[in-house]
C-alpha cells in the first residue's frame, strides 16, 4: 500500500482528532481519531446504527459535533480546523475541494435541472461564466461516468438509479475536489449495477489521485476501494488498519463476527 510510504514525508490531507457527536444522552460517534493521507481511501464499516453516517456528516460539516477537530490541509493556509472556519469558508470548501456523494442520488442532485445543468452547477458556483466551456466539461464528465452525452439535456428523473448515482458522482468531481465523502454510494442498487459503479469509482479514484472516505456496510466495497479500514460499533472505532490485514486477520471479536457473517452469505 502506497499510503504507508507517504506517511513519512507528507502532511495528512485530513486529521480527525477525538471527534464526538452525541444525540442527547445517546452516542452518535465517540472519540474518533485518524489521519488520511493524500491519495488514500479510508473505508468505514459497521452494522446499522454503529455511527458511520454520523461520523461522516460530522467530518463533512453537515452537523456540528460536540467535541474534536477536523483539520484539513487547505491549499492556501495549510492545515486548518474546519470546525472553526466561518460558515462561508466551510461552504466554499464544500463546493471546491470537498465533495459529498449521498446514498440516495435524489439527495445529491437537482431533479428539476438537466444532467448538464447538474454537472455545471459547481463550475458556475465558482465563477464559470462561459456557457460553451461549461457544456463541454459537462459532456466530458458524462462520458467519464459512462453516460452518453446525448442525454445531457435530460433530467435525472429520466435516468435509471445507477445512472443517477453516476451523474451525482460527475456533478461532484467536476471541480476536481481533493477529498470525497461517500455514504453508501452503492446502496440501494442492483448487484450488477453496483459492480459497474464500483469499477467506475475505482478507476476515477486512481486516475484523479482522489482521497476519499467511504461509508458502507458492504465489505466487498471496501475490499475493492479502500486502502485502510475503520470498524465501528456503538459509535466507537473498535479496530482499524490496512484493509487486507483487517479483513484477513481480524483482531477484535466484533470484526471477526462481521467478517465471518459476510463469508457465510
Amino acid at each position: 500500500m502506497g499510503a504507508q510510504v507517504k506517511e513519512q514525508d507528507m502532511t495528512p490531507l485530513l486529521q480527525v482528532n477525538a471527534l464526538t457527536k452525541m444525540y442527547g444522552p445517546r452516542i452518535g460517534c465517540k472519540d474518533v481519531s485518524f489521519d488520511l493521507y493524500p491519495g488514500e481511501v479510508m473505508g468505514i464499516v459497521g452494522e446499522s446504527g454503529s455511527g458511520k453516517s454520523t461520523l461522516l456528516n460530522a467530518m463533512a460539516g453537515h452537523h456540528a459535533p460536540d467535541q474534536g477537530e477536523v483539520v484539513f490541509d487547505t491549499r492556501v493556509d495549510g492545515p486548518v480546523d474546519t470546525l472553526k472556519m466561518s460558515e462561508p469558508e466551510r461552504r466554499m470548501l464544500g463546493r471546491t475541494d470537498w465533495a459529498f456523494v449521498h446514498q440516495h442520488a435524489r439527495d445529491g442532485l437537482r431533479m428539476s435541472v438537466s444532467a448538464g445543468g447538474n454537472i455545471g452547477e459547481r463550475l458556475m458556483a465558482v465563477g464559470g461564466r462561459h456557457y460553451g466551456e461549461i457544456r463541454t466539461q459537462a459532456a466530458d464528465w458524462l462520458g467519464r461516468v459512462e453516460i452518453s452525452d446525448s442525454r445531457i439535456d435530460d433530467r435525472p428523473s429520466a435516468f435509471s438509479g445507477g445512472m443517477q448515482q453516476r451523474l451525482q458522482i460527475a456533478r461532484n468531481l467536476v471541480t476536481g475536489p481533493r477529498l470525497v465523502f461517500m455514504d453508501e454510494p452503492t446502496g440501494g442498487l442492483d448487484v450488477s449495477v453496483q459492480a459497474r459503479l464500483l469499477d467506475l469509482l475505482r478507476s476515477l479514484v486512481r486516475e484523479m489521485g482522489l482521497s476519499a472516505i467511504i461509508v458502507t456496510h458492504d465489505l466487498a466495497v471496501v475490499r475493492l476501494l479502500a486502502d485502510r479500514l475503520m470498524v465501528m460499533k456503538d459509535g466507537h472505532v473498535v479496530e482499524s488498519g490496512l484493509t487486507d490485514q483487517v479483513l484477513d486477520d481480524p483482531q477484535h471479536a466484533y470484526t471477526q463476527l462481521l467478517v465471518s457473517s459476510v463469508l457465510q452469505v
Partner: protein
C-alpha cells in the same frame, strides 16, 4: 377623503413601511421583510406596490399609475381611483408631470428624473425561488453571495431554447452585491434600471420591500458567450413611428392583420402630439 387616514394606511403602519423602504435604500437589492397589511383589494392587484405608494405619498404629490405601460387598464384605473379617494392627491397620465409612478410590468420610456419615485408591484420577489424552494436556504445564499444557481437557470434556458429565453423578470445584480428580481418587466427595460429616480419594489403577499437608489449599478446576468440583450419586436410603432420603444402586438381582424404599438401609451401620445407619424397613424394622433 371619507373616514380614512391620508392614503388609507394609519400613520404607524406607514412609519413601519418607511423604515423598511429606508433600509432597502441603504442596502440596494436586499429584500427587507415587512408586515404587509390587508388592503381593500386582492393580492395580485398590487397590494405591495399600493402599500409602498401609500407610505411614500404626500398631499403635494402627483400620482401616475400604469399597468403594462397603459394608464387606462382596469388595474391602473382602480389603484388611481383608490388614491384619489383616500389621499385626495392629484393624478396624471403624463410621465413628466408625475412625482410618484406606480407600475406593473413596465418602466416608462421617458427618462425619469431625480424628483421622481417609481414604485413597482412585485408578485414573487425571490429570484432564486425557481430552483431553490426553501426560504431558509435562499436567505443563506443571499447572505453568503452564493449565486451560482442563478446561472444554472440561464444555463437551462440556453440548453433548452438555444438562447436565454427569459424575457420577463430577468435577474440582475445590484451594486455588485445582491441578485434581484426586477419584477416582471420585459428585459428590454433592464438597462433603464440604472436611472436618476428612486425605485421601490413592494411584494404584498410575500411581505418584502426592496429598493434601488438613484444612479445605482444594475447589471443583467449573462454568459460571456451569450451576452444579455435588451430585445424588443424588430418593428417601429405603427402609430408614432418610434424605433426605440417597447411594443405591444395588437390583432386587428380575423384575417390576421396586426399592428405594433408602443406599450407606453403616454409616450406614444406625446410623440404623436409632436408630429411623429407611424405606418397606420395620422398626425392628429388617431389610429387609421
Amino acid at each position: 377623503m371619507d373616514d380614512y387616514n391620508f392614503a388609507y394606511l394609519d400613520e404607524q403602519t406607514k412609519r413601519m413601511i418607511r423604515r423598511a423602504i429606508l433600509k432597502g435604500l441603504a442596502v440596494p437589492g436586499y429584500q427587507v421583510p415587512f408586515a404587509s397589511r390587508e388592503m381593500p383589494m386582492p393580492y395580485g392587484w398590487g397590494t405591495g406596490g399600493v402599500q409602498v405608494s401609500a407610505a411614500t405619498l404626500t398631499p403635494k404629490d402627483t400620482l401616475k399609475v400604469i399597468d403594462q405601460g397603459a394608464d387606462d387598464t382596469t388595474n391602473a384605473v382602480s389603484i388611481r381611483k383608490f388614491f384619489e379617494r383616500t389621499a385626495g392627491v392629484a393624478t396624471t397620465e403624463e410621465t413628466t408631470k408625475a412625482s410618484i409612478i406606480q407600475t406593473r410590468h413596465r418602466i416608462p420610456e421617458a427618462d425619469l428624473t431625480e424628483d421622481q419615485i417609481l414604485v413597482y408591484q412585485v408578485p414573487i420577489p425571490e429570484p432564486l425561488r425557481f430552483l431553490e424552494p426553501r426560504e431558509t436556504e435562499t436567505r443563506k445564499m443571499h447572505s453568503l453571495e452564493e449565486y451560482g444557481l442563478m446561472h444554472v437557470k440561464l444555463y437551462e434556458d440556453i440548453s433548452q431554447h438555444g438562447d436565454i429565453a427569459t424575457s420577463y423578470a430577468y435577474p440582475v445584480k445590484v451594486e455588485d452585491r445582491y441578485v434581484m428580481d426586477p419584477s416582471p418587466i420585459p428585459k428590454f427595460d433592464n438597462p433603464k434600471l440604472e436611472m436618476a429616480a428612486i425605485q421601490l419594489f413592494g411584494a404584498g403577499r410575500e411581505q418584502r420591500i426592496y429598493a434601488v437608489p438613484p444612479y445605482t449599478k444594475v447589471v443583467s446576468l449573462d454568459f460571456e458567450d451569450y451576452p444579455f440583450e435588451a430585445s424588443k419586436a424588430d418593428h417601429p410603432c405603427d402609430l408614432c413611428g418610434s424605433e426605440h420603444s417597447y411594443l405591444d402586438e395588437v390583432i386587428l381582424d380575423d384575417a390576421g392583420n396586426r399592428m405594433f404599438v408602443c406599450s407606453d401609451t403616454d409616450y406614444c401620445r406625446s410623440r404623436r402630439a409632436e408630429g411623429h407619424v407611424g405606418r397606420l397613424g395620422d398626425s392628429e394622433g388617431e389610429a387609421a
